[in-house]
């Protein structure tokens, strides 16, 4: 009985190949977008883990040289002898024929637990590592080092990207840095009663373990990606929901017959679930494979994005990871379950003797549309409540979900309203029929149009967010990169002479003085600024008090970055302890995009009092003759070209990095819109057979098939247009929530929102084009429907 029943159930799909294709491809596309994003996330996270495990970056406190970039090995020995549990690290780059490779030397015997170089594998022993010299690197780096070093190279895919790890002694040889170290890692547990650091060496500064500053940012980026992946998945699920609903409606008759012939309801429902799980697994597998392709295409951009924005390394290659295979398959099954739950529930509760007539057209009839509208209203109310009282990133995404789902549920009601309005304006009988028929089509197309609404709104929202980010970021670059040249001294000793030369030859000299510290519990950079016209004319604040720069110049106030202000819960007028014993009121809050650390800026003189040993080795220079000054610096001071960087180059580089930042999001936008167009196509194709009985009377009364086809096309475009017009304010609302709520919760700063009408107009055109393209084939099919098919509608003996 089971096999016979299953054969009957499956025969539906065999006879309705297009519907089967819509189901499998919709689910596969949805899974592909989801798993593609997950693959990127999993890969990026694995790269961070590798970097963290191999380099211990951020996990542990570190001792860094107060000036320069080297520590004498004797200092390390002195610290160890006095009881400090420190482990040496030496870093540097070596040249190979294929570019430069970063070498990191560690001491595995003293390194804290998690800073293991890599797994000792391929028969490599600790003895090998310490004595003969072995380098561990990922395949690409290993290839690069092949002819550059004499030591044995062990390939380890878990090694951090772009890095070769080795014993500290080997690193000192390779980097020609005998007797020196870059930094010392502090073990988390330190013995009691050890002497003060300053008592052993005043030349080192302690940098506490980073709280997850960079982690928070990268997590936010991943969260955004995941949110967009989920949104794309939701668009796909609308297709699947539409297809499953239609298929189940069409199978009501079969279900009734099967039950009348003696198939128990429980067995029938069980078989339908099994059938759907089978399809979900097939579609899930296809989707995960497609997702792999999407991830492989996008991953280099993601790597560029993360590296550019947050300095996090991500390998540019993709590995097959069990977790995203599993998550892809699971989401396909769960998504199918969500899409099919309602249909299965209906089947389970359908009386055996109820009408077997398909009810697809009643899916979102007037009463249903009003009911959905009421649910939408409820969701909007929850959203408003969250906006007023809510806090936290998770609630931010709940708010987004309430808005988007609410708007989708409201759509049938709005479309019916719009069509009714148009109907009242119609004068000719043909147009009256057209609008009446369009109103009848709204329920059948609702799910596909909801998918289009979500896709377009996501597109508007994300583009508004990214473009607002870009406009703000360009302003920010103009502000921060105002000096025409940035000049580096070779060392601290050269600095005073260089500064004197610059003062004589430039309009304004801005020494770049900074120290890494902790302000109000937030890891931050403290800057000493020479207040002058550049600061006064170029800096734009998020919040400010009167006479900002005068007060800073008098040493009476500080300027802090928005990240620091928000994370420390401070704002203008509050006092901030910028250094032990020095607390200053905050005169202004400045935006500092993309920086995981906080920033505080005080007057140069106050800074020098706090850190008398800190000498500026970099200067920003304002000049009207950048080329002339560059020439003088090379010829008279003897600086190398590399020590002089012109602002335009940095700006171009920064912009380039930024432009790549959201390429991934852009690609997801395009894909999501394509999926929505696919939803419309599939919806129209699967409904086409149900349309024949509705159009046949119009044909019989004298409308040509060609005209009917044209009207079908027009109908799809009109419904898509109303949907897109609705999607624009929804998208702007989405952008506003992303910029003013989610961004603050995730990144710690708020972005001003800009509106881009040109883009929205273009997007509307694209959406209409997508709808028209999707409707073209079904309309052509209709225009070519043989008269015999249309006549069947009127035949009694069928």
């Amino acid at each position: 009985m089971t096999w016979t029943t299953l054969t009957a159930l499956l025969s539906h799909w065999r006879r309705n190949g297009l519907q089967f294709f819509a189901l499998i491809s919709g689910l596969a596309l949805a899974t592909a977008l989801w798993s593609g994003v997950q693959a990127i996330n999993a890969e990026a996270r694995a790269s961070y883990d590798a970097a963290a495990a191999t380099l211990g970056e951020g996990q542990f406190g570190q001792l860094l040289p107060r000036t320069g970039n080297r520590i004498d090995q004797a200092t390390y020995i002195a610290l160890r002898r006095s009881g400090w549990q420190v482990s040496p690290v030496l870093e540097g780059r070596i040249d190979t024929t294929q570019g430069r490779v970063r070498i990191v030397g560690l001491d595995p015997l003293t390194a804290p637990g998690n800073v293991a170089p890599v797994g000792m594998q391929e028969g490599t022993s600790l003895d090998d590592f310490l004595t003969r010299g072995v380098l561990f690197a990922a395949t690409d780096v290993a290839d690069q080092l092949e002819n550059a070093v004499s030591q044995r190279i062990v390939t380890d895919p878990s090694a951090a990207p772009g890095v070769a790890l080795t014993d500290i002694g080997v690193a000192q040889d390779l980097l020609d840095a005998q007797g020196t170290l870059s930094r010392l890692i502090l073990a988390p547990e330190q013995p009691m009663g050890r002497p003060d650091l300053a008592a052993i060496t005043p030349d080192l500064v302690l940098q506490p373990a980073q709280d997850a500053g960079a982690d928070r940012l990268t997590d936010s980026f991943h969260l955004n990606l995941t949110a967009f992946g989920l949104l794309s998945f939701a668009v796909g699920i609308f297709i699947v929901h539409g297809t499953i609903s239609l298929a189940f409606e069409q199978r009501r008759g079969m279900v009734r017959t099967l039950r009348a012939l003696g198939v128990p309801l429980g067995r029938l429902i069980g078989l339908m679930i099994a059938e759907l799980v089978l399809f979900a697994l097939i579609a899930g597998a296809i989707g995960v494979a497609l997702g792999y392709v999407i991830a492989a295409v996008l991953l280099p951009n993601v790597a560029a994005t993360l590296q550019g924005l947050y300095g996090a390394s991500v390998a540019g290659t993709l590995q097959l990871r069990a977790e995203w295979w599993l998550s892809g398959m699971a989401i396909a099954v769960v998504g199918t379950g969500l899409a099919a739950a309602g249909a299965l529930w209906k089947i389970a509760h359908m009386p055996l003797l109820s009408s077997a007539r398909p009810r697809a057209w009643a899916v979102a009839s007037g009463a249903t549309a009003r009911r959905l509208g009421a649910v939408a209203g409820l969701l909007f109310l929850v959203g408003v409540g969250i906006e007023i009282r809510g806090k936290g990133l998770a609630l931010g995404f709940v708010l987004l979900a309430c808005m988007l789902i609410g708007a989708a549920l409201l759509l049938p009601l709005v479309l019916r309203g719009a069509v009714t309005l148009a109907d009242r304006q119609a004068r000719s009988v043909v147009w009256q029929w057209f609008w009446a028929d369009t109103r009848q089509q709204v329920p059948g197309m609702s799910l596909a149009l909801m998918a289009l609404l979500l896709a377009t709104a996501a597109n508007v929202g994300v583009t508004t967010m990214v473009s607002s980010f870009r406009v703000t970021f360009v302003d920010f670059l103009d502000q921060r990169l105002a000096p025409e040249l940035f000049i580096s001294a070779e060392d601290a000793a050269q600095s005073p002479d260089l500064e004197a030369f610059l003062i004589d030859n430039a309009r304004e000299v801005l020494p770049l003085l900074s120290v890494e510290t902790e302000i109000a519990g937030v890891p931050s950079d403290l800057f000493g600024a020479r207040v002058g016209p550049t600061y006064r004319n170029n800096w734009v604040f998020v919040a400010e008090t009167p006479e900002v720069w005068d007060r800073v110049a008098r040493g009476e106030a500080a300027v802090v970055s928005e990240q620091l202000a928000r994370r420390a819960g401070l704002w203008t007028g509050d006092a901030v302890a910028v250094a032990p014993g020095l607390s200053l009121p905050i005169a202004a809050v400045v935006a500092d995009y993309g920086n995981p650390l906080g920033q505080a800026l005080i007057d140069e003189a106050v800074f020098s009092d706090l850190y008398p040993d800190r000498v500026p080795t970099r200067f920003g220079v304002r000049t009207d003759d950048a080329a002339g000054l560059r020439e003088k610096l090379v010829e008279r001071v003897g600086l190398s070209d590399a020590a002089i960087i012109d602002q335009a180059r940095i700006k171009a580089f920064s912009l380039e990095v930024f432009e790549r930042t959201f390429t991934v999001t852009g690609a997801l936008n395009v894909l999501t819109l394509a999926v929505a167009a696919f939803a419309i196509l599939m919806s129209l194709l699967t409904l086409a057979s149900l349309r024949v009985p509705q159009l046949a009377p119009a044909w019989a009364l004298g409308m040509t098939r060609r005209r009917l086809g044209r009207l079908e096309l027009l109908r799809a475009v009109v419904l898509a247009f109303v949907t897109t017009v609705l999607a624009i304010p929804l998208g702007l609302l989405l952008a506003w929530v992303l910029l003013s709520y989610v961004n603050v919760e995730a990144f710690g700063w708020k972005l001003p929102m800009y509106v881009f009408p040109g883009h929205y107009a273009l997007l509307t055109v694209f959406a209409l084009l997508a709808a028209a393209l999707a409707a073209l084939w079904p309309a052509l099919r209709l225009a070519r429907t043989p008269p015999s098919d249309l006549l069947k509608v009127f035949a009694n003996d069928r």
Binding site: T4, A8, S11, A260, L261, G262, P264, L353, A356, N796
Partner: protein, 217 residues
């Protein structure tokens, strides 16, 4: 074979409960054919559905082969329909995605007693052999009804219930289909209970029971 004892059935309506059957009793032996006639709304189809276990009685008993189906669970009644009772509907209720051959074999396969030779004889007798590979949508109404009859009889049920099986067919086709059905029922030894409006169809049965306002008249 079949005993219906004092069966009642009431449906809930907008203006209160609506009694459809008010204590109906009848019986049917093996190899016997019975026509259930009556005006619209007299409860003919409801009684047929109750006997087929497609709906549950308000009160009374229905025994098929000595087993009271009113005391059976849903799945027991489903099993009964699979093996002992065949229902032929006015709307054919074929499975549109299966071929004629698969539709005809379907109930016999569900019952676990499909016999290919017998199915071939049945399709010959019903004139369906040239259409075995077609789908129901390609057949005329009379042909589809023949497939529905074939589906029931290939499964060899003890009791055949037919709800106006010729109601949708023209007179000539109806007569032809009815002849074939009666011949085949006789050949398989089943009992046949047929709901019909048509007196000419009713006269072809051995016995007739007339229902009026939910009672046997």
């Amino acid at each position: 074979m079949l005993t219906v004892q004092d069966v009642t059935k009431t449906f809930a309506g907008g203006e209160g409960d609506l009694p459809v059957l008010r204590g109906v009793s009848l019986s049917l032996d093996r190899n016997e054919t019975l026509a259930l006639t009556g005006e619209s709304g007299s409860g003919k189809s409801t009684l047929l559905h109750l006997i087929g276990g497609l709906d549950t009685v308000g009160s009374g008993a229905i025994e098929i082969d000595g087993r009271d189906i009113t005391k059976m669970t849903d799945s027991d009644r489903a099993a009964l329909r699979r093996t002992d009772v065949g229902v032929i509907f006015q709307q054919f209720n074929l499975i549109p995605s299966l071929t004629v051959a698969a539709n005809m074999a379907f109930q016999a396969r569900l019952a676990g007693r499909y016999d290919a030779d017998q199915a071939a004889r049945m399709s010959d007798a019903l004139g369906l052999t040239p259409h075995l590979d077609k789908y129901p949508e390609a057949l005329s109404g009379g042909q589809q009804q023949r497939v529905a009859i074939g589906r029931t009889l290939v499964a060899r049920p003890k009791l055949v219930l037919a709800d106006e099986p010729t109601g949708n067919l023209d007179e000539a086709t109806a007569r032809q289909v009815l002849d074939q059905m009666l011949d085949l029922v006789t050949e398989t030894g089943a009992a046949l209970l047929m709901v019909t409006h048509s007196q000419s169809v009713a006269r072809r049965m051995k016995r007739q029971v007339h229902l009026s306002q939910g009672r046997v008249a």
